[in-house]
């Protein structure tokens, strides 16, 4: 399990770089490195479905972040109240990690999962559904209702984006809409 530890240390260092650096483009690239490390971690933990999905979703979210925000200007911010804020948050995180360590002792140790329901899925999956990809058979046959809920969430998010970015009274491609026309009541 040495490679899993090394990968997690790489992800933590890349996350610290992404949070602290001042240039926006560099921090977006660092988040891309965290996502890529996560995809390799899924491969080490024997989950190939998730590795493919995580990789392409990471690429798409990086494209959207860079494309939509990179030409805006960045105003540098600094202030005295921010230091007090950071100290209080660090104290809270220290308390959270201490209580998490106390709670994590009750979990089964790493590598020996309790598989009460999954034993049924593994043994009877091929017989009852006829699919050899057992994760696919769990998503689309044993737990298909959750997939319906997830399709609804995607639909709602797409409708939400199209409503938020709508131009009231669009007048063609090259003209600008005056701001007074959008917010009248």
């Amino acid at each position: 399990m040495f490679e899993l530890y090394a990968l997690l240390i790489f992800m933590i260092i890349a996350a610290i770089v992404a949070v602290e650096i001042k240039d926006l483009l560099s921090s977006i690239v660092a988040v891309g490195a965290v996502g890529l490390g996560l995809s390799v971690a899924f491969l080490i933990l024997k989950a190939p479905d998730l590795a493919i999905t995580q990789l392409v979703v990471e690429i798409l979210s990086l494209i959207i972040l860079i494309r939509a925000t990179i030409k805006r200007d960045i105003t540098p911010v600094n202030g005295q109240k921010e230091l007090l804020n950071a100290i209080i948050v660090l104290l809270f995180i220290g308390g959270f990690l201490f209580f998490a360590y106390l709670a994590l002792k009750d979990l089964p140790s790493f590598g020996h999962p309790i598989m009460r329901v999954s034993k049924t899925y593994l043994v009877e999956g091929l017989k009852k559904t006829g699919a050899t990809n057992l994760v696919g058979s769990v998503i689309l046959d044993f737990r298909a209702y959750d997939t319906l809920g997830e399709a609804t969430i995607l639909f709602t998010a797409v409708i939400g984006v199209l409503v938020v970015l709508r131009r009231v009274g669009r007048k063609g491609v090259g003209e600008e809409v005056k701001e007074d026309e959008e917010y009248e009541d």
């Binding site: 999905t53 979703v57 959207i64 699919a131 050899t132 058979s137 131009r167």
Partner: protein, 148 residues
Amino acid sequence: MKTEEPGMSLIVKTITRLTVGLILLYGIYIVTHGHLSPGGGFAGGVIIALSFIHLMLAFGKELALKKLNQSLSSLFEGFGAIMFLTIALIGFVGGYFFLNFISKGKPFNLFSAGIIPLCNIAICFKVGAGLFAVFVALTLLRMNGKKG
């Protein structure tokens, strides 16, 4: 003073012409073999959306929107959602919600496992068309008037 060409440089355009069809074909392969090897509807749908976005990034907005404009992709997304719901509701005829009614063939064939390939295709339409419509909306907003 050379005229402004839409899209990126010549190297990017040549490579895009060679590879965008292969990316689309790979996405279709991952969707239809979702019950035999890792993948499934979600990953394949995102790959198909990425192939159209690749076309849009390399050649500019007008040429990509001629291939798949915004109202057509909204239509595909609704069609995918309705197809998924119809497959679920037909199961009511036999017994319960989401009954696997088509016969399960021999394993390791392409046409096995009942309704699972059809559900994968429906989800692929929904996810791919939805993400492409969202991307078009996000970048067309920048073109339509930047303030501040």
